[in-house]
């Protein structure tokens, strides 16, 4: 089954009206590329194969990371189109999509908050994929409570010296640059640190339940001296930057999960149509039909929440709560859908990694980029504040 389905075309029609045909052409072309070049490598990546660099390279060459940025360099496409592209990428290989999603969030941080010198030095390298980036916010003892981070950056005559540790960092070990958040005298600040900086080291790759194609590790800073030009934006505003970068990234992680769910659901539906038991197709049994209806409805709902949050962003409106809603719903939905899919396949679902890996992949994203719990705090906090 192709990755770009009539349901995607209809979503484009519903949201983008007359402009949809150009967008559909771009997404269809990406879908064909993903089907022919990425999907066949996905099982090997899940098995721990080393090929993610090559897969990422091909997607960078296609222009995936250029989509949401303005020309020159970018393709000036609406964020919702980028979000649908990441859904398709998530269907093809979730680990690659996540790795690139994190990277593109850093590119956005540099583009939005970096000074002219940082932008000139890094932005084109990032969106072309010549340099790979990692986003280093979470620490061993502060994940959801990011503000209480213990990594420190101390001002020196020519720059800063960073000490501390960041945990569960996607792309760690292979990234060329790290977008690092640290406490300073003025509050929090963000820095772009080269891999080769003396004092920066990465730990062993962490063994993970899912998303096994991507690398995740600890990043340590020991008297890591960096020049002042590597400060992103203003000292003291780092946490504000993190929140803005995470808003967009949460939509993308939600979209990747919609893609994961769509891929798993497609397999379950095809299986249900060809597997016979009790003299009829599995898909014709009432309890299977209930699952099909629920999965279908939830996938559409997740996609629409991601596109709704994207549209608010495109229109320059506040979308922090909607981005959180999109991520909470889509990531939890994907875990639910993939669980149903394992149930449809029964013993084969539990033993075949091509089925259960979707659940393993989805499971991460109810945790990364803001757990479901902390995002519910954000959503409810705004509701309660608004009702006063």
């Amino acid at each position: 089954m192709g990755l770009f389905q009539p349901e995607h075309q209809n979503a484009l029609r519903a949201i983008y009206g007359d402009a949809q045909s150009t967008y559909a052409g771009v997404l269809e072309s990406l879908a064909v590329f993903l089907e022919e070049k990425v999907v066949p490598r996905s099982a090997a990546l899940d098995a721990g194969g080393p090929g993610i660099g090559e897969v990422r390279r091909m997607l960078f060459d296609q222009g995936l990371c250029r989509m949401p940025f303005e020309a020159p360099g970018g393709m000036s496409l609406p964020f919702g189109i980028y979000s649908l592209a990441m859904e398709l990428a998530g269907s093809a290989d979730a680990a690659t999509a996540m790795s690139m999603g994190v990277h593109c969030a850093v590119a956005e941080g540099i583009n939005r908050f970096g000074g002219e010198s940082l932008k000139e030095s890094f932005f084109e390298d990032l969106i072309s994929g010549r340099k790979l980036a990692a986003f280093a916010l979470t620490e061993p003892s502060s994940g959801s409570d990011a503000r209480s981070m213990s990594t420190r950056a101390v001002r020196t005559g020519s720059g800063y010296v960073i000490n501390g540790s960041k945990m569960f960092i996607t792309n760690a070990g292979e990234a060329d640059v790290y977008f690092v958040f640290a406490k300073t005298e003025k509050g929090h600040a963000a820095f772009l640190v080269d891999r080769s900086t003396p004092g920066l080291s990465t730990g062993e790759d962490l063994a993970k339940l899912g998303m096994r194609g991507s690398r995740t590790a600890e990043v340590r800073f020991e008297d890591c001296a960096i020049p002042a030009e590597r400060l992103v934006g203003e000292d003291g505003k780092g946490f504000e930057y993190a929140k803005v970068m995470l808003n967009g990234s949460r939509i993308i992680m939600g979209s990747i999960c919609v893609g994961i769910a769509r891929a798993a659901y497609g397999k379950a539906l095809a299986y249900g149509l060809q597997r016979n038991l009790f003299g009829q197709r599995l898909a014709d049994l009432p309890l299977t039909r209930e699952k099909i209806a629920n999965m279908r409805t939830e996938i559409t709902s997740g996609r629409m929440l991601c596109l709704y949050a994207s549209r608010l962003r495109e229109m320059g409106l506040d979308y922090a709560s909607e981005a959180a809603q999109a991520k909470v719903f889509s990531t939890e939905m994907a875990a639910r859908v993939c669980d149903h899919v394992i149930q449809v396949f029964a013993g084969y679902g539990y033993t075949d990694s091509d089925i259960h890996r979707h659940w393993r992949d989805a499971r991460l994203l109810t945790i990364g980029e803001g757990t479901s719990e902390v995002l519910r705090l954000l959503i409810a906090g705004r509701e309660v504040a608004g009702s006063r």
């Binding site: 192709g2 009539p6 150009t22 052409g25 771009v26 072309s29 296609q62 222009g63 250029r66 393709m75």
Partner: protein
């Protein structure tokens, strides 16, 4: 060198669904550029890139057939002629209108087709179009060289490999082993919609040579092949002996 490449917006056979009686649901079926035509476009664009010239993509179809034309433009074709057929035509009429569209494109050195379409795979339109254009035709080309007003091709024929030459202008059909089609970047896909595309009707192409009548498809059915599903159990020696005995019994060896 002016090249025309002809592509078909074909039913996407990988997405074709059958009803409960096993009949393919052609109404509303998804379509895309015929897989083999991607090789034809690639070869045309490669030829253009190795010398000066233009590639014009010509496609006859209806509905959303311009999607395939845009894909060819994204791959590197320079301009397009979109022939709106309104409905499906048979091979004779298709080839006739394609030949008129090729003429409309201006002076041409080479017309490139694929070996057949990935949905019906009749392989008729390429040689028929060449005949309408009174051009020499070399079919099933797997390798080609162009120079000194001639084209030299290695042909992958059922009876084996052959080498053939023709003077230009000529028409060829290529097999899929001739190249690996490129994937246009997403930016090239976006830019394709800005390239010139002329839409023409059948009426505007028709002249006194237009074929009358033709073949109409009454119904498409699935041919089901039943298997005997005989399983041989035992050691490899035993089961291989049983297999040979069964093949002898069927009169196959």
């Amino acid at each position: 060198m002016n090249i025309v490449v002809c592509v078909k917006h074909a039913v996407d056979e990988s997405e074709l669904k059958a009803d409960s009686a096993g009949k393919p649901q052609l109404q509303g079926a998804l379509s895309k550029m015929s897989n083999f035509d991607r090789n034809a476009v690639e070869e045309a664009v490669k030829l253009k890139e190795s010398r000066t010239g233009t590639v014009t993509v010509v496609s006859l179809g209806s509905g959303d057939w311009k999607k395939s034309i845009k894909e060819a433009l994204a791959m590197g074709c320079d301009r397009a002629i979109a022939v709106n057929s309104g409905s499906a035509l048979d091979a004779l009429s298709t080839s006739y209108y394609l030949s008129r569209a090729v003429r409309r494109s201006g002076p041409v050195d080479l017309v490139v087709f694929s070996e057949g379409s990935s949905d019906t795979y009749q392989g008729l339109v390429a040689p028929m179009t060449a005949e309408w254009l009174k051009l020499p035709f070399l079919g099933y080309v797997r390798k080609l060289e162009v120079g000194d007003g001639r084209i030299r091709c290695e042909l992958a024929l059922e009876e084996g490999e052959r080498v053939a030459e023709a003077s230009l202008p000529a028409a060829i059909s290529v097999v899929s082993e001739i190249n690996s089609p490129r994937y246009p970047t997403l930016l090239q896909v976006m830019q394709a919609s800005k390239k010139p595309m002329e839409e023409v009707s059948l009426d505007s192409l028709r002249d006194e040579e237009a074929p009358r009548g033709g073949v109409s498809v009454a119904e498409v059915q699935v041919v089901s092949v039943s298997r005997k599903r005989i399983l041989f159990e035992g050691t490899p020696e035993e089961s291989s002996r049983m297999l040979v005995d069964a093949l002898k019994k069927e009169g196959l060896v």
